[in-house]
Symmetry: C2
Subunit: 196 residues, 2 copies
DNA sequence: CCTACCGATCGGTAGG
DNA sequence: CCTACCGATCGGTAGG
């Protein structure tokens, strides 16, 4: 990698970072390329030396995050890990993503509607598959009597939405630390699942 | 009320209804007045005989819903109702609102960011007060040993976000009926709160 | 409720 | 990376 390429890469990363922050604050549609350019410190036209289009920015932010989620789930696919341990790891992973990559996570969860075809269908099917894999882990745990017989569909929905709800916590002046929040969430969400 | 006023009123209601549906589908910023006009069946300019501006539509949708939430909470403020009964009523109320008034609920929860001042501050403070009232009910229940000693802040956040997560369920071809979903949610969310 | 139209702003391109 | 600029579309108004 030449020096020029390296510089270009890091400027692109800066654009993606600022874009995620602005998309989260104002939403994808309400953020203009001129707003974004100002935040990056260049003219709007100059953005196009680093990225192809506004849609491409959204796609990169969202599919990078989706990839992280899928990879984490792949890493968990070991036979010696119990189902309840897997669920705990998934809760912790999502809580940490929500806290540490707040802008990117928020954009994935809220702005995927603004994806255009074929990216939209791609994302929706990736997400469907992800949810199904989580449900399979829960079903497996129920079959092995590790987990209380609860509708996997409802449990997964509750877990993923609760994480999404951390947005409130993130916005408010934080009464509770990130570490405490994570423990509370694990306790609350996992506590309701474990078989006695 | 004259006949003319009555007709105007119902056309305005139609506009608000269609607007909520489109804001939910595409987001407030991505919905144009021309899109909305087409959905209503008139020209864009004609919308302005019924409403003042695009922002006003958003405000009406959101503050009507906020009012419903506040009124429901006021109705619950009776001394002979236990805290756990109050929490159950709140969960059921939100689940039913999410299911029966899906578009309006979704717009309130997702598109409030697009409110402009002074409406934005108004909404944010109303929501803050609402959450504080819910927390107070939980704190009261904990003090009376009706509810397990859990951080009220986290519990309220979990309840409200889980309801929001019903969006997934609503979008998907429904494997579970509304009635079942409500019972599952009450069981799951209330079950984790009750003192033994 | 429509036609006609306003100024502003949008995403993006040409050319250097 | 900038200046200059494109066609398209935006929310909204005038006038009837």
């Amino acid at each position: 990698m030449t020096f020029t390429e390296k510089k270009k890469l890091s400027k692109k990363e800066l654009i993606l970072e600022r874009a995620a922050a602005m998309f989260r604050e104002k939403g994808f549609a309400a953020t203009s390329m001129r707003d974004l350019a100002e935040s990056v410190g260049i003219e709007a036209a100059s953005l196009y030396n680093h990225i192809h289009s506004k849609s491409q920015i959204l796609e990169e932010i969202i599919f990078r995050m989706a990839k992280k989620c899928n990879e984490h789930l792949n890493d968990l696919d070991k036979p010696n890990v119990s189902c309840i341990e897997k669920v705990e790891a998934i809760i912790r992973f999502h809580v940490q993503m929500m806290i540490n990559r707040f802008d990117d996570y928020h954009v994935m969860v809220n702005d995927w509607i603004h994806l255009t075809e074929p990216s939209l269908s791609d994302f929706v099917s990736q997400r469907r598959e992800y949810v199904q894999r989580l449900e399979a882990i829960l079903s497996d745990g129920i079959a092995k009597n590790e987990i209380r017989p609860i509708a996997p569909y409802v449990a997964i929905l509750t877990i993923l939405s609760s994480v999404r709800g951390l947005e409130f916590w993130h916005r408010s002046r934080k009464q509770i630390s990130a570490r405490e929040m994570e423990e509370h969430m694990v306790q609350h969400l996992l506590g309701g699942l474990k078989a006695k």
